[in-house]
């Protein structure tokens, strides 16, 4: 009998600064048995623990086919992540998981995929894009839409450029408040939908501020994409990740075990009201 709250130590084997305040850590469970048996699906997350300080949900961005080397991209925003930002190679951290349902990568196979992110950029989306690139022939056209407030908020600039050069891939970048260095589009992310031409059979996946996702979802529906093929990754406070602590409730759902990825059909009604 093991408590679902049990934590397992993992060693950091690589630390990469993505941009200021965002780091990608590679970590391996120290226990060989756990390391070998651990499996996850694209888009699932782990609870990552800083000794004595706290535990926070962080998506797994590495590929499910290499489950021994887990990668997590962490943005430093507050109490716990500040401590994580100081982690070095060789440090031992705590991991439990994987949790959540992950991205619908199987459903999307063979179809065109539209990926939308906004605001400060979403680590899980990078994992998803990488996942698709590694299996590029299994998917149709790939559209990546990303909107930021200012050019400074654009993380992974080189990666966007790299993706842009890839075959059957289109990248749309826009900024609300551009500066001289900005040579992409200007305006909010939703303006990009007008020029986006995708078949109704496409699958849309998104992650970002709720307002953005709500508008994007509506735009896709207007393009004829079924509500069941539009997916949103929802963020809620999580203290247990196993559906017991109650914090991630989203009306009838628990974001940790029923999500964090939901179809638009499932949550559309909840967008009507604020404060849920």
């Amino acid at each position: 009998m093991t408590t679902p709250y049990a934590i397992y130590p993992a060693r950091i084997t690589e630390r990469r600064a993505e941009t200021s305040g965002v780091y990608t850590f590679t970590m391996r469970f120290t226990d060989p048995g756990i390391r070998r048996s651990y499996r996850f699906k694209a888009g699932q997350f782990n609870m990552i623990y800083a000794f004595g300080v706290g535990e926070v949900p962080i998506s797994i961005v590495s590929d499910p086919e290499e489950p021994e080397a887990l990668q997590h991209t962490i943005r430093i925003v507050g109490r716990v992540t500040e401590v994580m930002g100081r982690w070095k190679v060789g440090d031992i951290v705590g991991v439990r998981g994987p949790y959540g349902n992950g991205w619908p990568v199987d459903e999307a196979r063979g179809r065109d995929v539209v990926i939308v992110t906004g605001g400060l950029g979403c680590a899980p989306v990078v994992g998803l894009i990488n996942y698709i690139f590694r299996r590029r022939d299994q998917y149709g056209e790939l559209h990546i839409l990303h909107g930021v407030k200012t050019p400074n908020d654009l993380l992974y600039r080189e990666r966007f450029d790299e993706w842009r050069r890839a075959p059957r891939t289109r990248v749309y970048l826009t900024a609300d408040r551009p500066d001289k260095s900005w040579h992409y589009r200007i305006g909010v992310v939703t303006q990009l939908f007008d020029e986006l031409a995708v078949p109704a059979s496409s699958v849309a996946m998104m992650c970002g501020p709720e307002v953005m996702m709500r508008l994007a979802a509506r735009a896709f529906r207007d393009k004829g994409i079924s509500e069941d093929a539009i997916f949103l990754s929802m963020e809620r406070r999580m203290e247990c990740a196993v559906g017991l602590c109650g914090h991630c409730q989203y009306r009838e759902y628990f974001a940790c075990k029923d999500g964090p990825v939901f179809s638009y059909r499932a949550v559309r009604e909840l967008f009507r009201t604020t404060g849920i």
Partner: protein, 258 residues
Amino acid sequence: MKPRVAVFKFASCDGCQLQFLNAEDELLRLAGQVDLVYFPEARSRSLPGPYDIAFVEGSITTPDDARRIIRVREESRYLVTIGACATAGGIQALRNWADVEQYRRVVYPSPEFISTLSTSTPISEHVRVDFEVWGCPIDKGQLLAVTRSLLSGAKPVLPAYSVCMECKRRGNVCVVVARGEPCLGPVTRTGCGALCPALNRGCYGCFGPANDENMESFVKLLAQQGVTGDDAVRRLRGINGYVRLWRETADAIAAQKK
């Protein structure tokens, strides 16, 4: 090198800094983690700054202290107020509603010898404060947790929900519902362990306001219990009476009466 810790005192009763010494089980282990380089109450050799953590007890009530706190701030990486005096002005902030000249004459036959400001104000009215630990006195466990958290390089967790939550976790019987006692618990910040209700009496707010108060409804509840006018004003103008929301609520009741 161990972090350098200082404990400063302004107008106060010493009870909050005493919590360090009351940590009988932890004191020596704490001393293994930090260098208490400035702690006049417990150590005769005081070393100059800079300090990694300065714990500040007491409110600002004299012109000298108003200058001294600025120096403390300059010398300290983290400034943590401990207790109601430092965080909210303390019980001595009751002078803020009175004529201090008169106060001074009540107490001292030669009031001209006494140098004091007309107000007692929290540290945050004078300098930037990094963290505030509430309570009169602060809770020993919370003090240790804050210290430990800073040593771990993390911001301290200082929960601000109501005393009622703690009260119920302890299994107390609510004194409002079962005794009709006025109790500030619903609008007071957790931290003490719901001591007063555990001893069958109402909370008098020594941990200051919770983070989400509905004072209007609370004042109505007091009134239902027969606590109105001056009585209600006194309840709110207590240990943490100078805190904005409580001060404004009490002032509004006092104004109504007139």
